[in-house]
């Protein structure tokens, strides 16, 4: 179990480093601590909810078994993301070398990382569903529902934890600044002060500040 936890922390640190490389060495090295911390905080805050949800769908799972199962979910996801770290690092370094010093390829890099986190999360989810099915004899439907609910809880809490622990990789215009280790509830570029508001604004897509918005800058010229 300790070995598994260490693997999770190391792999998440590797992925965090690759992600932060898109901005600067400062961000990359900070992410060595931030990413494992993100996983620990999410796991600790959700531990009780994971168990209560499991009592309703899989009574045979003890508190420890639930924590082990959710731990394996994070473990698998971290290992999968770590395997993509070289690719992420390559994209990070090349976009950093060629960006315009303003927004650069921030949006496409963000989209790529959201996609690989979604793929890695889904694969880990499928594997853990199968593991619950075979190890505890849990029927497929409740196993899927249970692991799906665990994932929703993790996304809700992990998303807010990640928002508070920003920046993981900033846009190029902020290069050279030394932001605080955690930005906390400070508004982001579009004015969101928490993760859920940021998701809402991603859907609504309000304009960026004019100094960052390429379209607005063109109009001024």
């Amino acid at each position: 179990m300790i070995r598994g936890a260490l693997t999770t922390l190391t792999c998440s640190a590797l992925y965090g480093f690759a992600l932060g490389s898109a901005h600067s060495e400062l961000y990359a090295t900070r992410n060595l601590v931030k990413f494992p911390l993100l996983i620990v905080i999410t796991g600790v805050v959700c531990a009780l909810a994971y168990w209560i949800v499991a009592r309703a769908f899989a009574p045979m799972l003890s508190f420890q078994a639930v924590q082990r199962a959710t731990g394996r979910l994070f473990h698998d996801m971290s290992v999968l993301l770590a395997s993509l770290s070289p690719a992420v690092a390559f994209l990070a370094w090349t976009s950093r070398a060629t960006d315009d010093g303003m927004l650069g390829s921030y949006d496409s890099f963000l989209a790529f990382n959201v996609a690989i986190v979604a793929v890695a999360g889904s694969l880990a989810l499928l594997r853990q569903t199968r593991a619950l099915f075979t190890q505890y004899g849990l029927a497929p439907a409740p196993a899927k529902l249970l692991v799906g609910l665990w994932l929703v809880l993790s996304l809700g809490v992990g998303g807010q934890a990640a928002f508070v622990m920003r920046p993981f990789f900033g846009f190029p215009a902020t290069r050279g600044n030394t932001p605080p280790f955690f930005v906390g509830a400070e508004p982001d570029l579009r004015g969101a002060t928490n993760f859920y508001e940021a998701v809402w604004q991603t859907i609504r897509r309000p304009r960026l500040p004019s100094w960052l918005d390429a379209g607005a800058r063109e109009q001024k010229k």
Binding site: L48, R55, A56, N194
Partner: protein, 229 residues
């Protein structure tokens, strides 16, 4: 003693080539809860959690058989009271009672109507049976709120109180709604196992209509208690 799923392959109705992993035991009707287990749940919170969340079939069977109903109802009542307090404390220390008032209060207000209407329509359900079914909602909601309490505490600690489109109280309301929904789902799971307790399916119809009254009262209670912020 081996369960049907552990029988030798040659006894499998699907033949010897079917792997054991997909052989399913036939579903047997649940037995009523052991009165000793119910008694132990009075002093052991983990067993009270199991009784509330993990034994819907057996609670349903107990409703049909009339076994230990007063004690089960009492355990559900105490669970509703105690496990909702941590979430209330997260919302505000002075308002620690508000989640209890929301879930248990709304249920207590609406339970007489369920009893009277079902009796009026000839369903002959005993008061203890109605209490066990009714208290399932606040008990399960309290346990889910107990699980969500650390999450709401974390959100409250990390989200600003100021001008924001998605305040932490909105997320809290969603989690409370999910807790109540889980209670309603558990009530129906229990009822499916207890449907022989009523002489006809009319009780299910009464229960369905009663949900509308309950949800309306719950909504109003939430507004009165200013749980929305």
């Amino acid at each position: 003693m081996s369960t049907p799923a552990e029988q030798p392959l040659s006894n499998s109705p699907a033949g010897p080539d079917v792997p054991l992993a997909i052989a399913r035991a036939p579903r047997r009707p649940a037995l009523p809860l052991d009165p000793e287990f119910v008694d132990s749940a009075l002093t052991n919170p983990l067993r009270a959690i199991d009784l509330t969340l993990a034994e819907a079939d057996r609670v349903g069977a107990s409703v049909v058989a009339g076994v230990a109903l007063s004690r089960i109802a009492f355990i559900l009542l105490v669970t509703s009271l105690l496990f909702a307090i941590p979430y209330g404390c997260v919302l505000s220390l002075a308002g620690w009672w508000k989640v209890v008032a929301l879930t248990l209060g709304s249920t207590v207000i609406c339970l007489p109507s369920l009893f009277v209407f079902s009796s009026y329509l000839g369903q002959r359900m005993r008061l203890e049976q109605i209490l066990v079914l009714g208290f399932t909602i606040p008990a399960v909601a309290a346990l889910f709120s107990f699980g969500f309490a650390p999450i709401v505490a974390f959100l409250r600690a990390t989200m600003s109180e100021g001008d924001t489109q998605v305040p932490w109280r909105s997320i809290s309301n969603v989690l409370l709604a999910l807790s109540v929904l889980a209670g309603v789902v558990q009530l129906w799971r229990t009822w499916l196992a207890a449907r022989n307790a009523a002489p006809s399916n009319l009780f299910a119809m009464v229960l369905l209509v009663w949900h509308a009254v309950f949800l309306h009262v719950l909504w109003r209670m939430g507004t009165v208690l200013h749980l929305g912020g």
